[in-house]
């Protein structure tokens, strides 16, 4: 067990270092950041001064060491575009992304789970078939297309919901929330649906497949033979046993939701980290780009690590297999 944890931790650190190297390489390969920051009438002396201030004259090794050291403390320097600390920018944008992602994840789970159970239990029914057909569309359509179609229907044609922005925002300490007003909730509906749809169909199909699998097992047959009511068999026995993979996948998908929010945020002009990243890409704002990359990688690595450890704890079969494979 301890060996496994150490092994996974080392792996995670290695992944983070690779990502840091990529993020750092961005710094060094990208043309001339100074040109992106200053106006045309800046003199050569002023440019050199700025270059020295930003530490762009030092050797590559020194710069990388400094980069990792600063990154570990959450410092990514100044944004080339806005000349403000990147950490400050990210702290400003993070609440928007996290609120959107968490609402989308909750939506996906709350809708996907019952739909999956339903389609698993009534697999031949008309409603279940319709749900499966719709879910195929959810899987096939690109996120941005779903967003645009939702805007077209609910914002342009029907005029019910706003199509961009977060609505009014209330500041709670460093956390800015849009969820304290009706307009804020109205603003979050369309982006959250857009972001949730793919995950929802994924969860639904997963639960359906797991339910079909479990319903075929002997203990379900025995439960039915004992004369237990359908409700108890379906939910108490069957659904409970599908939960391990569902929780795992949902946990892993949380990372994807945060990453996919790049697209949703661009469609809805949602002022979060994803929009910041895309804007940074078009401005070649390297500090922001690399900070975002490192942060997203950190999210992923931590989530993967936690899920892996949980899996190891929850599923005893896996423990035996892994130990056997490692020869312990």
């Amino acid at each position: 067990m301890i060996a496994f944890i150490i092994h996974r931790l080392v792996q995670s650190v290695a992944v983070m270092l690779v990502v840091a190297l990529i993020a750092f390489a961005l710094f060094n390969f990208v043309g001339d950041p100074i040109n992106n920051m200053v106006g045309q009438d800046t003199t050569a002396i002023q440019r050199d001064q700025l270059r020295a201030d930003l530490g762009l004259n030092d050797s590559v090794v020194v710069q990388f060491a400094r980069f990792v050291g600063h990154a570990a403390r959450g410092q990514f320097g100044l944004s080339y575009e806005q000349a403000r600390p990147v950490s400050q920018l990210i702290l400003e944008k993070m609440p928007a992304t996290l609120e959107l992602s968490l609402i989308a994840a909750a939506m996906a789970l709350l809708a996907g789970l019952p739909m999956g159970v339903y389609t698993g239990l009534h697999r031949e029914g008309f409603i279940a078939r319709t749900m499966m057909a719709v879910s195929l569309i959810g899987v096939s359509l690109p996120t941005f297309l779903i967003g645009i179609l939702l805007i077209l229907i609910f914002a342009v044609v029907l005029g019910w919901l706003p199509s961009y922005g977060r609505g009014p925002v209330v500041q709670l300490g460093w956390w800015s929330t849009g969820l304290l007003s009706v307009d804020g909730w109205r603003a979050v509906i369309l982006p959250a649906i857009t972001l949730a749809l793919f995950q929802m169909t994924l969860i639904m199909r997963l639960v359906r497949a797991e339910m079909l699998e479990v319903l075929r097992t002997d203990y379900i047959k025995f439960a039915r033979a004992r004369g237990l009511p359908n409700r108890v068999v379906n939910f108490g026995h069957a659904l409970k046993n599908t939960m391990v993979p569902v929780i795992t996948i949902t946990g892993l998908q949380l990372g994807s939701i945060i990453a996919f929010s790049i697209i949703t945020e661009s469609v809805f002009q949602w002022p979060g980290m994803g929009l910041m990243f895309i804007q940074a890409v078009s401005f070649a704002d390297i500090p922001v780009m690399s900070a975002y990359l490192v942060l997203i990688a950190l999210f992923f690595v931590v989530i993967n690590l936690v899920v892996d450890l949980l899996y190891y704890v929850v599923d005893p079969r896996l423990r035996i297999n892994r130990d056997a494979a490692h020869g312990n």
């Binding site: 690109p142 941005f144 070649a284």
Partner: protein
Amino acid sequence: MAIKEGATDAGLTAGASAGLLRGAWRSVFGSDLWYSFTRSKITVISGAITLVLVVSALLAPMISPQNPLDLSSLNLLDALDPPVWMEGGSFDYPLGTDGQGRDMLSAILFGARLSLIVGFASVVFALIMGVSLGLIAGYRGGIVDGIIMRFADVQLSFPAILIALLVDGIARSVLPHDLQDQIATYVLIIAIGVSGWVQFARTVRGSTMVEKSKEYVQAARVIGVHPIRIMLGHVLPNVTGPVMVIATIYLAVAIITEATLSFLGVGVPATQPSLGTLIRIGGNFLFSGEWWITLFPAVMLAVLVLAVNLLGDWLRDALNPKLR
């Protein structure tokens, strides 16, 4: 099987071509695969739709009413015309025009053409990269296998779109600025291809490890066949089934990724609009009521992806021996 039949037919000299044709005909339309294809209505429909879309996209320069890439053929007076069935529409522009007076039908045909070309090329790139790395990893084993598969694991823990964005972003910043528009499409193909090689590599590696221990490979090794020849000539033909399935499913993913990157403005250059670019441009007109500029490319993209996806699903089931 199909190859063998064709080979024996080719051996006959008299009336060879007729026999060859008949043999090819029989090997395609008499095969199990064709039978299972015709069994499912949805598959036949999606196959037909894919065929029509691919052919019309390939023939776009010939069949489209206007060349949307030729700026001199555009007429600004015709800008923002609605589709033909609405008031103010004309038969010159059956699906309306965009803000520059571009015929939407032509733009969509050319856009689909570019989307398909980039999609296919990315699949080929991912396939070659993934299959060769998978073959090497599975055949060599040991530390080579370890390095390749660790890379695959790390990449697999991030969404493909993020990898593609990253590769595209890095390539753009490394390459000189004045070249960017010319090579943007190639950069895009490589970015999407790199983001998709892992699936191929994992499957091929698994099959290779199984095939490697079989007697025919052992025999080939004993008589001193070169490892590369064993990999390409003996192992590869036996792992093509799953590779074809992944390639089909990945084609849909590649088309979506291309459209998404172009939609985000980091895909193909704006001078050569793909479906994603058209949707992005159309998004600006959404609020002024010109919905057709977005909706028609969007529908085209959705239908294309859905049809390819359904074909992939069918192929996966048809080639899966467990489901027979």
